[in-house]
Symmetry: C2
Subunit: 378 residues, 2 copies
């Protein structure tokens, strides 16, 4: 299933025309579809019969060329109806506005090897740009635990907590996703160019803003709603009372998804915003990745202490099969030869094991190779 080419082109054009998170444009497109909105805007004329500025600007755009240029730098444009469209974003249609931003994005510019629908078990980990060493450590550890359990760590690639969250996931070879306020082809902050490259390798870098766009305050506000909407829940690790991370928290509440907060010393301004949200009952206190998994997982799936755990599917495997399973990556697909090298087992035996594991729903075959499937992450 995929959106029609006309619809995709109309969305590319309207997305270039409007600011990210323009709630009027989002609402119109959700109601009428992008082609119809584009045609209506193209026909707009002033009282004198002259094309309006909007119509003229829209007519001057060449979305097909834009898609081609983007493709050359490794960017794709994902829209509703595409198989990899993150359906969680659709909830934004009913989440109102915050700071005059809101609505379902017209599309997402994506750079990265992993398909977005493979990153749908995601948790957002956000926080202060001016974090403390304590906050960085907690964000990194928490994200590593979540990523090791197969959760994709979503954040904003900013300094401080954001980068610690991405790095925590990357450190365990886990999936992670960065949502930018500038074009997905750009690096902001510039110092994180390398980090964003790693994120694109292990997961994806996405943006609502068209390629080449600069980061601006209004785009950060719009961006934060996507971080919240692409995750099943949000963890805030350190946020001063007026921290931008709290706008992601607000969006999480609007989306009626779990909001979690990591406490810290009450003497640290960096934790005040988090403490406020916990105190008011908006956020649940979490102390690490296991708390997060317990809150977001299916009931009983991630209990911290299970007196007698249910046997997991992998418990029924032979030791050799388990070795193979352990060598299959969580996010980025690997070929059977690569799995064989990692497992230290011959490729023919590995291929037999992979086929068996596939039947049991433990691994998934995709064009790029093999990844773990849901059952293996339980």
């Amino acid at each position: 299933m995929s959106a029609t080419e006309e619809e995709r082109l109309a969305r590319v054009a309207l997305n270039r025309l409007a600011e990210p998170g323009d709630p009027r444009m989002a609402g119109l497109v959700t109601e009428l579809g992008a082609e119809r909105v584009r045609d209506l805007l193209l026909a707009e004329r002033s009282l004198d019969g002259v094309r309006t500025d909007v119509a003229a600007r829209l007519a001057s755009l060449d979305p097909a060329a834009e898609l081609e240029r983007a493709d050359r730098v490794g960017l794709r444009f994902v829209v509703p109806g595409d198989r990899e469209w993150p359906v969680g974003l659709d909830d934004l249609a009913r989440a109102g506005t915050v700071g005059e931003r809101g609505g379902v994005p017209l599309g997402l510019w994506v750079r990265g090897r992993v398909r977005l629908d493979e990153l749908s078990d995601a948790v957002a980990v956000v926080g202060s740009r001016s974090s403390t060493g304590y906050g960085d450590t907690v964000a990194r550890d928490l994200s590593a635990v979540a990523a090791r359990a197969g959760w994709c760590v979503v954040s904003g690639a900013a300094f401080g907590i954001d980068q610690a969250a991405h790095r925590g996931a990357l450190a365990v070879d886990g999936p992670t996703l960065a949502v930018l306020a500038c074009g997905a082809d750009r690096a902001y902050p510039a110092a994180h160019r390398g980090l964003l490259g790693h994120v694109a390798d292990a997961g994806a870098v996405v943006s609502e803003s068209a390629p080449g766009c600069s980061p601006m305050r209004v785009r950060f506000l719009a961006r934060n709603r996507l971080i919240a909407a692409m995750a099943r829940g949000t963890v805030v690790v350190e946020a001063a009372v007026r921290s931008g991370a709290l706008s992601t928290a607000t969006w999480t509440e609007r989306l009626q998804r779990p909001l979690m907060g990591v406490p810290g010393p009450v003497t640290a301004a960096e934790s005040q915003g988090v403490h406020e949200r916990i105190r008011s009952g908006a956020a649940v206190l979490v102390t690490g990745g296991h708390d997060v998994l317990e809150l977001l997982g299916r009931p009983g799936e991630h209990l911290v202490e299970v007196p007698r755990a249910e046997p997991r599917p992998r418990d029924r495997l032979t030791t050799r099969q388990q070795q193979v399973l352990d060598a299959v990556p969580v996010a980025r697909p690997a070929g059977a030869d690569s799995v064989a090298r990692t497992a230290g087992i011959g490729v023919r035996e590995v291929y037999r094991a992979l086929s068996l594991l596939e039947q049991q729903g433990l691994v998934r075959r995709s064009p790029g190779g093999w990844t773990l499937d849901r059952a293996a992450r339980a």
Copy 2:
């Protein structure tokens, strides 16, 4: 109003007979009264017609002599019906048992200058004996803020958080109350003999255990229920997962009074017990004294930030009258001459001002002198 002398003597005797917080004894006395229970027990005989051990032991006691001896070392025995009986303790009749301890105490042995009913606006501040420097600082500051606002700080005089709580109140000349697991004439821990002396000067040292009793594990469990029951709410500052301070938290929940917890670094074991209680929703997160006052005060009485504060009674006073008011102690009464010295104003003018302040409900006259009244603490 006061209990009859017979009832008081019966309670002294039964209190010496039973362990603190023996729920059976407490229940019997609450139902039948102490005189009747004493008479029933004195009449107890075995099948052979011999007095039981309990009856023999009870008959051998001399409660009148015990009261006299206690009086000589500055101890009084406060029982239900006495004007200074802390009525909050009566709620223990309906709070069940924890660790086989429970019930309304038969009486309280009290050492200290302040009448217990003057300490009834109380908040318990408890926590780990092996606290961190962070925990000590927070407990001290929080207690100082509460005490400055006229709240009596109740704790257990233990090492760590308890002593920090008492010291915080003492540092601002505020009221504080120590509930001991040994006799109120003893010092446990011995290193806190000096501290307990200061507490007795500024407030009171109380115990359910008879004079001379040693601290024992069962008495600590019984003691913790009194800390919770003598306060309007309890703040836990640092408690490891199995900390004794959490039994005070449990009693606070049983009494359906506000339970508050101060968060800390999630990396510190000392905060784990607190985080658990906040996470489960049993405790509300507080970051300092102002949060505590806001939670415990009458609605709107202690708002941290009031955009436009209601004029307080003291705002209507002249500067001279305010100076006099500022020189009146919160807890321990002072004579007009002492107030005059502190205020640096002549005693005749001070006395006129005090009389006027008394009419406005701002100060209270008692045999020992003057103290602030409720309205002045708002």
